[in-house]
């Protein structure tokens, strides 16, 4: 956990042997980080019934970048992530307030279809959740739902998606076998392949590596870096090193106690370039968190 802790957070000039830091230096130049905005979030909040899980979030998510959400448990990271592709719609009592625009369109506008939103904004979940179907049918599921029935087209999509997820060579001879027979790391890459098979613009990842070993994690991180050129990625992670390793921008969330009703509620503390968050955060709470002093 504590490569990040070795960074002197108030020192603007990168120095020191931390692996994290070295990686920051390999990053694309800062000028390249000003890509167009995908999501414009204004004062968003999410409640489950009378419980407000996260409030007052305002941020802009940029295309072809990896944005990481970090913060302690129960700070609303995942809740916020699920608001981006309307996954809260299927939870009774869940409500999203404020405004989340996707390319200028209000995601929660009256004539916006949640299924269309989710087709463009895919999601990879914390626990690998392949369908109890064959590897092939898992990948082909999304394209079929979206109207691709031609066998040759499906074959091509399956191969392309599995290649993109660096899984093709491992599974090409057992496409007809159940996806449930794969290892956890393979299953999670299968889920990524399944997500990109429908050619979404954005891929939301909810702690995609928390159930995986370090080798599988490294593979998925490598995959994320490759996918960044074609997709916009938002990732929730508990692993600060992971955020530092893979992301371009980082948002730090924490839980605040609401004085009016004594309930804990997630808030966005700071959102900036990852290099800045991990070297020179503006908020003391961020600094405390990334240096391991709390959370």
């Amino acid at each position: 956990m504590h490569a990040a802790a070795s960074i002197a957070p108030l020192d603007p000039a990168p120095a020191g042997p931390a692996g994290t830091r070295l990686h920051l230096d390999e990053r694309r130049p800062a000028a390249g980080l000003e890509t167009p905005v995908v999501f414009d979030v204004e004062n968003a909040e999410v409640s489950y019934g009378s419980f407000r899980a996260v409030r007052g979030v305002s941020m802009k998510i940029h295309t072809n970048q990896i944005t990481a959400f970090i913060g302690p448990s129960g700070c609303g990271k995942t809740t916020m992530l699920r608001a981006f592709n309307r996954m809260h719609d299927v939870i009774p009592g869940a409500k999203v307030g404020g405004k989340i625009s996707y390319h200028g369109v209000d995601l929660y506008g009256p004539d916006v279809s949640a299924t269309e939103v989710r087709r463009r904004i895919g999601m990879v979940f914390q626990k690998p959740n392949p369908f109890p179907k064959s590897i092939y049918d898992n990948i082909a599921f999304g394209p079929r739902v979206n109207g691709t029935t031609n066998k040759a087209d499906l074959d091509m999509i399956v191969e392309r998606s599995l290649r993109a997820a660096a899984l093709w060579d491992e599974v090409k001879d057992r496409l007809r076998y159940s996806a449930l027979g794969m290892s956890g790391g393979q299953q999670q890459r299968l889920c990524i392949a399944r997500t990109i098979a429908v050619e979404p613009e954005v891929v939301l990842m909810d702690e995609p590596c928390s159930a995986l070993d370090p080798i599988a994690t490294a593979r998925i991180e490598e995959l994320m870096r490759q996918l960044r050129d074609r997709y916009t990625i938002v990732i929730v992670t508990h692993n600060m090193q992971q955020a530092a390793r893979v992301s371009d921008r980082t948002a730090f969330f924490t839980a605040d106690v609401d004085a009016s009703n004594d309930q804990r509620c997630g808030v966005l503390v700071e959102y900036d370039l990852t290099a800045k968050i991990f070297s020179n955060p503006s908020d003391e709470r961020t600094e405390n968190y990334i240096t391991g002093r709390f959370g």
Partner: protein
């Protein structure tokens, strides 16, 4: 903190203890329970097989094909019309109750959820499971048979009423067991709710739904009381589902077993064995069919 002393390996040895005794007691109680369940079950199978096998093999395969003797004291086969009748009545009931029950359960679990209407339906379903089968027979007699006369279809209606709550209940249980993560995976790919239910939820729940339905079918196939009212009596083949009196194995067992003639009682045992075999074959086929959906790991 002081350094730990040498490991007390002596303490690793199993000691006679109350905890171990409780474990043995619980194991013994479970074995006893299994035996207590198995004895009556095996006794039933044993008596049906030993008394029925001779009747069936003495006239094989005529016992399964010949018509039922009109004069019941006459010795000899067979049960053909009753086998056909059971297949017609139970098959008809299955065709009515399983689709309705599965659709109803999908509504309750996926759409109605905790709404007032869904809760009312769920409550009525539970009540329906407690209704004696003869009441279902009377119900069908009054609403259907009095108007349209005896037919296998009337029996199918009565059995469907009995099966429906079982199918609804077991299917809803199975739908509840489908992990929410699977639904989320489908939703996250831009799949509509109906499509998610059809292509992800139902296939995942299918083995359980089949098991529940088979149980309901097997139960219904052995029902006698409602059929007495609804299908009347016949000794000849009646392949028409919708007209004329019919018969069924369960009805034949009841009629022949209560007869005072040995020949009829023998036929009752034969019919009982036939019904058991039929249930076995249907279960076997259904299992084979569902197994085809399962994938190799």
């Amino acid at each position: 903190m002081s350094a730990p002393g040498p490991l007390d390996l002596h303490g690793l040895r199993a000691q006679p203890s109350w905890r171990a005794a409780k474990s043995h007691l619980a194991t013994a109680a479970m074995i006893l329970a299994v035996v207590a369940i198995a004895i009556p079950l095996l006794a039933v199978v044993w008596s049906v097989v030993t008394r029925g096998i001779g009747v069936v093999t003495d006239a094989f395969p005529e016992f399964f094909t010949a018509e039922i003797p009109v004069v019941s004291r006459r010795k000899g086969p067979g049960m053909g019309p009753a086998i056909l009748g059971t297949l017609l009545v139970t098959g008809g009931a299955t065709l009515i109750a399983v689709p309705l029950g599965v659709l109803g359960a999908i509504y309750l679990h996926e759409y109605g959820q905790t709404s007032r209407f869904a809760r009312l339906v769920r409550f009525m379903t539970t009540v329906m499971t407690g209704v004696p089968s003869i009441v279902m027979g009377l119900f069908v007699y009054l609403t259907w048979t009095l108007r349209f006369g005896y037919s296998a279809f009337g029996g199918a209606l009565a059995l469907a009423c009995l099966m429906l709550p079982v199918v609804i209940g077991s299917t809803e249980q199975m739908l509840r067991l489908v992990p929410a993560t699977l639904r989320e995976a489908a939703y996250a790919l831009g799949t509509s709710k109906s499509r998610t239910i059809l292509t992800v939820v139902l296939p995942a729940a299918l083995p359980g739904i089949v098991s529940g339905s088979l149980l309901a079918i097997a139960r219904a196939a052995g029902e006698t009381a409602p059929l007495l009212f609804a299908i009347g009596a016949a000794t000849a083949y009646n392949p028409n589902l919708f007209a004329e009196a019919n018969t069924a194995l369960s009805v034949q067992i009841f009629g022949n077993a209560t007869s005072s003639f040995v020949a009829a009682q023998d036929r009752a045992w034969g019919a009982a064995l036939t019904l058991m075999l039929l249930a076995f074959v249907v279960t076997f086929i259904a299992r084979k069919l569902t197994a085809r959906f399962a994938l190799e790991r």
